[in-house]
Amino acid sequence: MTQQDTLSDLFRTLSHPHRRVVLYYLRAHETASLDGLAECVTGWTESGAGTETGGDAGGYETVRIQLHHVHLPMLTGAGFVTYDVASGDVTLRDLPRVAETVLSTAASVDAGDGELDVDALAASAGE
């Protein structure tokens, strides 16, 4: 896989706000339950800053189902988390440094508190 493919995979993994919020939460807490993540993501989407569109989480149950069927498997596939389907436990794994950089920048943008720092991203991606 080329560097470019790696970068494409990374951005694909981080392209959905639900997956980014899951990672923001896990970076602060290491582990979480599926229910806890669904509550965090639903609240963020409904009420968090940076959701001036009014937020359309589709409701808690929808978010929970999407996390279970789509987002957590994708984050697992990228090697970012482990997801124990039976217990619902989600655990953060070591993130690639470029992912850390992208998430730190994206967090402030998602929270409505910053502009995308393209230079920092480019510098990180070029390492």
Partner: protein
């Protein structure tokens, strides 16, 4: 549902499922947590690496997700607006959003400004619906005095029927559409203070409880009630509810115990049963 037997009984029946509140943000908002700790809720804080303004809280009742409130609204919860029910600051405040989510959860010690803000939410619902019956217990009628302009406007601009309750330490002026009950028999607003109570304890409960209830008019989804009892130092314990069946029972109790017609105080003494 069996019949509500007293104001205390009505309060006793406001009993929602266990409520959990989780706040998300860079750090605990101590003022908000101090406010929420006055409720019988399980309270958590989950750290999120976002600016304080991007925080929020979520509420679960009986394990079910019920909704969220954004952090910019927290200040309204801690220090609610004090305007008239129809004022923009009350209408636009997030206090009501949080209040809706906390319905059914008992509070152990709320100060008057919060009870007043909750009362305003109920009065504003009544104002917006514009018909139906609003019940307001002020403990003592002197407390009604400061609210008189609000209630005069409520009845002047709507088809609401209003019942006001309190011990007779002040004689309010007659206001069409507002019936005043002091819990004594006979002429309820005579103010002579000597009339024997119909039921022993009836006047006592009026002096003891702060309550506001709106039957929703013909819209059950607008029915709501607050019932609180002073526990000292201007602090109250109580709860509020949006359960239309319970509100109906409470209204029926008040009507049956203190009278439903508005003969006493209305300058227009024609029959006007709601």
């Amino acid at each position: 549902m069996t019949t509500v037997r007293s104001v205390a009984d009505a309060l006793d029946r406001i009993r929602g499922p266990a409520t959990t509140v989780t706040t998300y943000g860079p750090e605990r908002d101590e003022a908000l947590h101090a406010f929420l700790e006055r409720f019988d809720v399980e309270l958590h804080h989950e750290r999120l690496p976002v600016p304080a303004d991007a925080g929020y809280l979520t509420v679960r009742r009986g394990g079910e997700y019920r909704g969220s409130v954004p952090a910019p609204v927290f200040a309204d919860a801690v220090d609610p607006p004090r305007g008239a029910p129809w004022s923009p600051e009350v209408r636009e405040s997030g206090y009501g959003d949080l209040g809706t989510l906390l319905a059914g959860a008992r509070f152990t010690s709320l100060a008057r400004p919060h009870l007043l803000a909750t009362s305003r939410e109920i009065e504003d619902r009544a104002f917006r619906v514009g018909r139906g019956t609003l019940y307001a217990g002020f403990q003592s009628l002197s407390a009604y005095r400061a609210q008189l302009p609000v209630y005069e406007r409520l009845v002047a601009e709507t088809d609401l029927t209003v019942h006001v309750y309190g011990t007779a330490d002040w004689t309010p002026p007659a206001t069409e559409g507002v019936t005043v009950h002091t819990g004594t028999s006979g002429r309820e607003t005579s103010g002579d203070g000597d009339a024997a109570a119909d039921e022993p304890g009836a006047a006592d409960e009026l002096g003891t409880f702060w309550f506001v209830a709106f039957d929703g008019g013909d819209d059950d989804s607008m029915a709501c009630a607050l019932v609180a009892v002073e526990v000292g130092d201007g602090a109250y314990r109580g709860a509020w509810t949006y359960d239309p069946a319970l509100v109906r029972e409470f209204a029926a109790y008040l009507d049956a115990t203190y009278g439903a017609d508005d003969l006493e105080q209305s300058s227009d003494s024609s029959e006007q049963n709601g």
